[in-house]
């Protein structure tokens, strides 16, 4: 176990040296969220950290009270029990104080929720639309519409076929690609059963429901590689339909879009040239 702990400390050092924006993957032995890649994800993490302080304090408080009564009011320490069963001021206190704590939480919670939900009112040129279908058991991505429509399926790489730099159970053959610094408006639906699309580093998750079109948005400022996994039970291969998002600089994104409109393979080839996974791992070590 000792060597394992060393390994995971080393690994997290590697990951953090990658610069938080470059890749977000789960870390062995990790304790918290994956590093945030969007401003909103950062806000979610900050809010979660506040909650962690609050719930940590409450748990500690209850624990201390429990230990205190066990030490002070056990049969040996206090042979004769008191008989009181009411204390109005304290009952009011433990009703009102939690309400106040909840009000503090709500004060932070609601603005965050509304910010996440409402797609910012920006010029259409700042928005990139992508559609995705959840299917048993892969994701399909659609860019554009009509004659210009680009369509490709995104399947998990089997363990035996993993290339250097790819992550088992997370890497896919054809990742979703989006430009950095733009507002990505993702429309999500499904063609068979319910799935859910998520990228933990963006702090977004939305169900892909047949017959229903859901929308989410995110804006990633730095290029990088991000992973997520289907998050609604969808059958036998639920664990094997991950999500990979590649964020490229605007100009590279545009070139990728041209190439991928020729063929999915051409798009992928370009992607590997401008954002090779093996090189990232090499530079990290």
């Amino acid at each position: 176990m000792g060597s394992k702990i060393f390994k995971l400390v080393g690994l997290s050092a590697i990951i953090s040296s990658l610069a938080s924006a470059y890749a977000a993957v789960p870390v062995e032995g990790g304790l918290g969220f994956q590093p945030p890649a969007t401003e909103l994800a950062q806000e979610v993490h900050d809010f979660h950290n506040l909650l962690l302080w609050i719930i940590g304090f409450i748990t500690l408080f209850v624990t201390v009270l429990l230990i205190w009564v066990m030490v002070r009011y056990n049969r040996r320490a206090n042979p004769v029990p008191k008989t009181f069963s009411h204390n109005t001021p304290i009952e009011i206190a433990w009703t009102v104080i939690p309400v106040l704590i909840l009000a503090v939480i709500a004060f932070r919670s609601f603005p965050l929720l509304f910010k996440q939900e409402e797609i910012p009112n920006v010029a259409e040129s700042e928005i990139v639309d992508v559609k995705t279908y959840g299917r048993q058991w892969y994701w399909s991505y659609i860019y554009g519409s009509g004659d210009d429509e680009i369509y490709f399926d995104s399947n998990m790489i089997q363990d035996a076929e993993l290339q250097p730099g790819q992550v088992a159970k997370l890497s896919v053959n054809n990742p979703m690609v989006v430009p950095a610094g733009k507002y990505i408006r993702l429309s999500v639906t499904a063609s068979d059963v319910i799935h859910a699309w998520t990228i933990p580093a963006f702090a977004v998750k939305v169900d892909a429901v047949p017959g229903r079109l859901n929308q989410i948005w995110f804006k990633v400022d730095e290029p990088g590689v991000f992973y997520g996994q289907c998050s609604e039970l969808c059958g036998i291969n639920h664990a094997f339909m991950p999500i990979e998002v590649r964020v490229l600089p605007q100009d590279q994104y545009e070139t990728w879009l041209e190439r991928v409109s020729e063929s999915t393979a051409a798009g992928n080839e370009y992607l590997q040239t401008v954002q090779p996974l093996a090189a990232q791992v090499a530079s990290a070590e």
């Binding site: 062995e28 029990p81 859901n214």
Partner: protein, 542 residues
């Protein structure tokens, strides 16, 4: 008063001879609330061991990446689905409501039996039938074609995965029948509790003098009567969608899969309070008994449960933040959900205040009760985190949720169950258990279940999704801890079973009231075990 007529009816004959333990008709045709309670407990023990074994298969599978125990995801999904359904419908509910409720509600309110003893019999005997259907579903085809068997769509049964698209075989139909039968069983039981508690309390026992355990069962029974018909409706619609061409949840026919989720959770959220409220009642009795002090803030405790039960009905969509609801609707459910923390806090603090100034005996049931208060607090505060939709997007359907609901159920409801078991064991079975063995059971379960579930918070925060048969290697580290924890609990469970056998073999004679002056409720005024028919002369409450 109805209680007077009950006196007359039972005063006529003094039949204290209990039939032989080995008489089949005693158990099959039983109308005695204590015998039926025992049947429920034995059934829950049996089903619980199966559910526990299933979780062992899951933990063994998840010990490493790759496939260890199962051949594919379907088998794993079937086992997780069955684990959930068994633990909820065939372990926690039968044990807490059917078992302890049947045994102690009549004893505590000074009633000779349940109001409708024959209905009580059918309530129980529907359950083994229902359980048989559920078990059978594991061995019949999952799909219209192919070799896969069983229903692997999770205990929430979401269509289209539970419809013909996802599970076209007969397995899901058997699950539907099973839950229909279990639902009828629970509704009949709940009606019986409501009628008994409202009509058969001993003279002088007003509602506001009734022990909190009876209160908790009364509230639970109301939740059951209101919630289960909604589940039955949703299941029936699913059944007709699958078999008779209706399109309630089929988008291609104008239906909506999300509608099922609303109906399911309108039942499903009260259901989680159905599982924990009787436990709240048990903890109140135990904490008061072993602190040798009356319950602090009795009325607040009773009405906090009423409040929790009521609010429990208006928060259901917090299970559905990611389905694509309007933001205002989400905001409402965030607010309503957080409000539950207030009455729950009242209960936690009142238990501590009951101990405050007391003279605490650290008996085995008291250990379980104190353990419960701590663990329920841990599970409760993560519930406050999850209530916030903005954070829930990151945690929904991850192991953080698994950790949260196992802290409140597996370490909450189950701890209250064992607390009640050791509190009333002597009363029910007429023998004393071995305190050393029971203590070992507690400590192994307490440590082991924390080792199982605490690391799952970390997994969830890192993004590990629920219901995954396999995972990326980075998640292995905490999964291994979790599986080690399971082994500790498994040893504890073995010791629990040894403890039962030891107590039966040694047969140490039980006392009527082993707990002393702190045990003030009526069941301690009777012998252990109580006579086959009690209260031929109704007790009078001052």
């Amino acid at each position: 008063m109805s209680s007077d007529s009950a006196t007359a009816a039972h005063g006529g004959h003094h039949d204290d001879h209990s039939p032989s333990l080995y008489s089949l008709s005693r158990w099959l045709f039983s109308t005695n609330h204590k015998d039926i309670g025992t049947l429920y407990l034995v059934f829950a023990l049996f089903a619980g061991l199966i559910g526990f074994a299933f979780s062992g298969l899951m933990r063994a599978e998840l010990f490493e990446t790759g496939f260890q125990v199962f051949e594919d995801g379907q088998q794993y999904n079937v086992i997780t689905t069955m684990h959930g359904l068994i633990m909820i419908f065939f372990m926690v509910m039968p044990a807490l409501i059917g078992g302890f409720g049947n045994w102690f509600v009549p004893l505590m309110i000074g009633a000779p039996d349940m109001a409708m003893p024959r209905m009580n019999n059918i309530s129980f005997w529907l359950l083994p039938a229902s359980f048989a259907l559920l078990m059978l579903s594991m061995f019949v085809p999952a799909q219209a074609t192919g070799d896969a068997t069983g229903f692997g769509g999770g205990w929430v049964l979401y269509p289209p995965l539970s419809g013909t698209v996802g599970h076209g075989g007969v397995a899901m139909d058997l699950v539907i029948f099973s839950l229909h039968v279990a639902g009828i069983s629970s509704i009949l039981g709940a009606i019986n509790f409501i009628v008994t508690i409202l009509n058969m309390r001993a003279p002088g026992m007003t509602l506001h003098k009734m022990p909190l355990f009876a209160w908790s069962v009364l509230i639970t029974a109301f939740l059951l009567v209101l919630a289960l018909p909604v589940l039955a409706g949703a299941l029936t619609m699913l059944l007709t969608d699958r078999n008779f061409g209706s399109k309630f949840f089929v988008p291609a026919g104008g239906g909506d899969p999300i509608m099922f989720q609303h109906l399911f959770w309108f039942f499903g959220h009260p259901e989680v309070y159905i599982m924990i409220l009787p436990g709240f009642g048990i903890i109140s009795q135990i904490v008061s008994t072993f602190s040798r002090k009356p319950v602090f803030g009795y009325l607040a405790m009773a009405y906090a449960m009423v409040a929790i039960g009521f609010i429990g009905f208006i928060v259901w969509a917090h299970h559905m933040y990611t389905v694509g609801m309007g933001v205002e609707l989400k905001a409402y459910f965030v607010a309503a959900t957080m409000v539950i923390a207030v009455p729950t806090g009242v209960k936690i603090f009142s238990w501590i205040a009951t101990m405050w100034g007391g003279s605490i005996d650290f008996t085995v049931p008291m250990l379980w009760a104190i353990g419960f208060i701590f663990l329920f607090t841990v599970g409760g505060v993560t519930g406050v985190v999850l209530a916030n939709a903005g954070v829930d997007y990151s945690l929904h359907d991850t192991y953080y949720v698994v950790a949260h609901f196992h802290y409140v159920l597996s370490l909450g409801a189950v701890f209250t169950l064992f607390a009640g078991w050791y509190y009333w064991y002597e009363k029910m079975f007429g023998v004393k258990y071995n305190g050393m063995i029971a203590g070992a059971h507690f400590w192994l379960t307490f440590i082991g279940s924390n080792v199982i579930f605490f690391p799952q918070h970390f997994l969830g925060l890192q993004g590990m999704p629920r219901r995954y048969v396999d995972y990326t290697p980075a998640f292995e580290y905490w999964h291994q801890w979790s599986t080690y924890g399971y082994y500790i609990v498994a040893v504890g469970t073995g010791i629990f079973l040894i403890g039962i056998i030891e107590s039966m073999v040694r047969h140490r004679k039980a006392e009527a009231n082993p707990w002393g002056e702190g045990a003030t409720t009526l069941e301690w005024t009777l012998s252990s075990p109580p006579p086959f028919h009690q209260y031929n002369d109704l007790p009078r409450i001052r």
